[in-house]
Amino acid sequence: MSAISREDVVHLARLAHIEMSDAELDKMTGELGVIVDAIASVSEVASSDIPATSHPIPLTNVLREDIVGQTLSNDEVLANAPDSDSGRFKVPAILDGE
């Protein structure tokens, strides 16, 4: 039984502002389910005394000194922007979030 329901995918699509057809939702529910199930098999070998980790290598404290480096020019920053105005990205008005 997959841990991902169709409702989960509808919810995620809404959060990500991605419009999906019924067929796409069905397909994605199946595909995401396979991925989640595959990852879930990790907990079969990981006992409860093993802390969750997001890094395979036990690295800590990769830190940078507080020294200013190279920045992009304004033209470079906006090079990939679909639209811009007065040196700024121009985006459609978005109602939620604030």
């Binding site: 940078r64 000194e65 020294i67 978005i94």
Partner: protein, 500 residues
């Protein structure tokens, strides 16, 4: 019902106990951003302090700013927090163009500092202890300008312009535990708390702490519960209340509004509220919804931060004296009355007075100048006292000239004006402008004789024992000597001449 219905504050407090909670965001004043080496600077041309990391371009790798971590630990220590031995970053996912990555890099269940406290002293000396839940590291978002439609408001805007100079600027978010028991002092406590945080981060030197620039921003949570109840009511979160005065007003307004809603038998909706400075009121923002599902997960591009005891102790040794303790110490040292000291604090001249006393004046003399003539000159010039350019040495020199009877108080005030105008040191000005008081007894004696001759009735009064009548002679004598007479010497001369 209308959201504008309010219950009088005192009436509301007879019936309900307010519970407060604050989230204060502090922008750190590091040279570079949290995860990139772009400059952390205010007021530059849009999208010029930006690197590929700040734009969230594919393949970039963020690297944590060590100074930002140390500043965060300093804030934690100053708030009496535990510092996490190990902590990490998480992605807070949301859809909004103020971050080009579609997530904010933040900390989730392992903040760098947690479980602290801070004592907040209100104006009359009453102290409230505010418990700190956590202080965590994160990054600021870009700045959006909404255009078209209703100007500047997101509702009705056609499009938005985005500047990512601020995106990635290091932030520390300080979150309190629920604050109960403040009662009718809740608005004052709110103001004092945010003021104390601002003072602490400024004193630590980790933030410019200018609220008008958004260096310190406050979200204020308010709920009411019936008096004596233990279960908290539903809260609202008023966003971005960005001055101390506004924090006080917003808390007061929400208490009055909540009471009206509850009195009418309705329920408070858990939502964000927007503060409007012009009408001193809040309006409904966005209710809690699906969109608040941030799907936090550990940031795979950043490895954990481990703090050693040595590192923490080294940082602890850098902590300056806490502002509240310093004030207590200075007040005791200087012997000012409560109100005198409070006025000095409110005028923001603690540093100046401390430096002046250290340079050699008494506490009373330092206060007299900084709270008197210097404050007056600053006000007249519409400047901050600190920007007037009066040094502690100037006050010491001026005071020495008075003590040495070279000049009197009135002349000294003039001299100070000339100092501010850039004419030199007090001694140079007295010399150059021939302002030294007339100590020459012959000249002074003549002026006194003339004054006494002109005012026989005053002389009779003095003879009759009314010593304060000598004051009446002062005016003509000062006039005759162009204000340069030593008042003490004039008094002596009058007494001598009358054989008293």
């Amino acid at each position: 019902m209308s959201t504008e219905e309010l219950v009088d504050f005192d009436v509301a407090l007879e019936k309900y106990d307010p519970v407060l909670g604050f989230e204060v965001h502090v922008e750190l004043n590091t040279k570079t951003k949290m995860f990139s080496d772009a400059p952390n600077a205010f007021g530059d041309e849009p999208n010029t302090n930006v690197t590929p990391v700040d734009l969230g371009l594919p393949g970039v790798l963020p690297v944590v700013n060590k100074t930002a971590v140390e500043y965060s630990i300093l804030i934690g220590l100053a708030l009496n927090c535990q510092i996490a031995e190990k902590c990490g970053f998480a992605r807070k996912n949301y859809f909004y163009p103020d971050t080009p990555k579609n997530f904010q890099t933040s900390q989730y269940d392992d903040p760098i500092a947690h479980d602290g406290w801070i004592d907040i002293e209100l104006e009359d000396g009453e102290v409230f202890r505010v418990e700190i839940e956590r202080a965590h590291m994160e990054e600021d978002a870009g700045k959006l300008t909404h255009l078209g439609g209703a100007a500047g408001r997101i509702q009705g805007a056609d499009y938005s312009l985005v500047d990512y100079n601020r995106a990635g600027v290091p932030l520390v978010e300080i979150v309190t535990k629920p604050i109960t028991g403040a009662g009718k002092r809740a608005p004052e406590l709110a103001r004092a708390y945010v003021g104390a945080i601002r003072e602490i981060v400024k004193n630590l030197g980790v933030s410019d702490a200018k609220m008008e620039r958004g260096n310190v921003r406050c979200d204020a949570n308010v709920s009411l519960m019936p008096k004596g109840a233990e279960k908290f009511g539903t809260r609202t979160e008023t966003k971005n209340v960005n001055s101390l005065r506004a924090v006080e007003h917003a808390v007061r307004f929400e208490i009055e509004r909540h009471a009206a809603v509850l009195d009418s038998g309705e329920k408070i909706v858990q939502e964000t509220r927007h503060w409007h400075e012009d009408t001193r009121s809040t309006t409904s923002g966005r209710p809690k919804s699906d969109a608040d599902d941030y799907r936090y997960f550990p940031e795979p591009d950043l490895v954990p931060i481990v703090t050693t005891a040595d590192w923490i102790e080294e940082l602890r040794s850098r902590l300056p004296e806490p502002p509240a303790e310093r004030r207590k110490r200075l007040k005791a040292d200087w012997g000012y009355a409560d109100k005198e000291f409070r006025d000095v604090v409110n005028a923001g001249v603690l540093d100046e007075i401390e430096a002046t006393i250290a340079a050699g004046t008494t506490a009373a003399v330092a206060r007299k100048w900084w709270m008197g003539e210097i404050a007056r000159l600053a006000k007249a010039a519409d400047k901050e006292i600190a920007d007037l350019g009066v040094s502690p040495e100037t006050i010491v020199e001026l005071d020495a000239l008075i003590q040495g009877k070279k000049i009197n108080d009135k002349i000294a005030r003039q001299v100070l004006e000339y100092v501010v105008a850039g004419e030199g040191t007090p001694a140079q000005i007295v010399e150059k402008r021939s302002l030294a008081v007339v100590n020459d007894d012959a000249a002074l004696g003549k002026a006194v004789d003339e004054a006494m001759a002109a005012m026989p009735d005053v002389v009779e009064k003095i003879k009759g024992g009314k010593m304060q009548a000598i004051g009446a002679l002062m005016g003509p004598v000062m006039k005759a000597t162009r204000g340069q007479a030593d008042a003490g010497r004039v008094r002596e001369l009058v007494m001598e001449k009358l054989g008293l």
